[in-house]
Amino acid sequence: MNAVEATAAYELWLRTQLGVVLDDDLALKHERMAESASRFLRGTYYLWLSRVQRKTPPELLQAPELLTVGDLHVENFGCWRDIEGRLAWGVNDLDELATLPYTYDLLRLCASALIAVHEQRLPLHEHEVCAVVLDGYRHSFEHGGEPFVAAERHAWLAALETAAASGAAAYWAQLNALPELAAPLPAEAQTLLRAHAPGGDWQPALHRRTAGMGSLGHRRAVAVGAWQGGLAARELKELAPPASNIVLGRDESPARPQAGPSWAPDPFVAVAGAWQCRRLAPDCVRLDLVDYAHGADRHLLRAMGFETANVHQRSSPDAVARVRAHAAQLTAERLQAAVEPLVAAVEHDWHDWAATLQGHG
């Protein structure tokens, strides 16, 4: 197998699942995948699943299952406002939610962190990555999970809030400058947008938005318009079933987990049929590693491990209990030993991909 064949197969499947596939965006995705191993990892979740199946020791591959993020990586975290209006931080994109062994999320999060270390974008030692993630993960389970919200604790979130406020004018200017949406939204998406508009009198303009990595090629639109003294925006995106369905032969349309003690979700995220609607704003964005304050990298990675367990604890109590017991026996050394071959495979595949693209450029 190589990345080219796997990508061709995945994209053929995608064409059978989506109403429309945007080829210009897919072409852009292929180019971005060649830019770095991190981007390659983000763009090839289907290939990752295949690699995990072939390279992971049975003790991790056959670990207890629960609702996992799936496409988890160090840049799939972001911030939003929770129902109390507090700035919340956590997993940003749940498009690939699926019931899988919990270890899948840990392997992918650690692999993405190791690749970021190799790319000198995360100033940690390789040998500490898995230990830090696992420590955060287990700590969340030990305390029953707890969301990250900016209130009396988590002062580091305040820096994100300040950054969002200072970049607000540029953010809205960028959204307003997006090209006009050429094709009308399907009725299903229009209904969803109306249901989640800030008010009935909101008259937004519809724009085309090219964003993300793994979901490039999906239809995506942004509605932007003035409402009660300022701009408001909603993003609409067409979702496909999780890639684990085709790669692992599963048949699942997992429901989005509900709010609870371990999760303070964005109340403006809604899914209807194949479309997802979410609020967009300077304080409601996915974050790259460069967006965080320097010097707190270990703390950040530990928080990512903790937050991963927060999402996992939205599964059934039985599933959570099985995972808690299994994770308590998992050592950082065993996790690291499983992650390293996967990272090597990703970096090898990325080199091949970049060479292929260059050869045909």
């Binding site: 080219v4 061709a8 197969a9 499947w13 080829d23 180019e31 045909h360």
Partner: protein
């Protein structure tokens, strides 16, 4: 040994085994006349990027629940001819064109073309999905 079942029970996705017990593909379609109980043969998917192969009924030695056994060796199975489907008037056209190959080159367009071809000319979308799934499962 599992109990034999009728050819009428065969479903897409059942494993197809060569005479040595190795898996050579999955059932893609069953050709025959249900009303007259005439079993013509099977279309089997051997890879995501190849067209389905035809196995005549004479080469099927046993059918058990979920498994079709052939009298052919793996080498003989690899030489099976292409399954020629009856043409239909329905066509499933992708809403967008170009796809993967558009950005990576003609060599790669060929990969996609091998799989896309039957989609564009036959009502066969489920089989394409099955073949893609089979491709990924074979990777393990």
């Amino acid at each position: 040994m599992a109990d034999p079942v009728s050819w009428l029970m065969i479903k897409t996705g059942w494993k197809v085994l060569a005479s040595d017990g190795s898996e050579v593909g999955e059932v893609d379609e069953v050709a025959g006349d249900d009303n007259a109980d005439i079993f013509d043969g099977l279309s089997i998917a051997t890879s995501a990027f190849g067209k389905p192969r035809y196995v005549p009924a004479e080469q099927v030695t046993q059918i058990t629940d979920g498994i079709v056994h052939l009298s052919l060796s793996p080498e003989q199975a690899a030489q099976l001819g292409e399954f020629l489907e009856p043409a239909t008037t329905a066509a499933i056209e992708p809403d967008s064109k170009g796809g993967f190959g558009a950005s990576v080159g003609a060599e790669l367009r060929e990969i996609e073309g091998k799989v896309l071809a039957p989609v564009q000319t036959h009502e066969h979308s489920m089989n394409i999905v099955r073949r893609i799934g089979f491709f990924f499962r074979r990777l393990r």
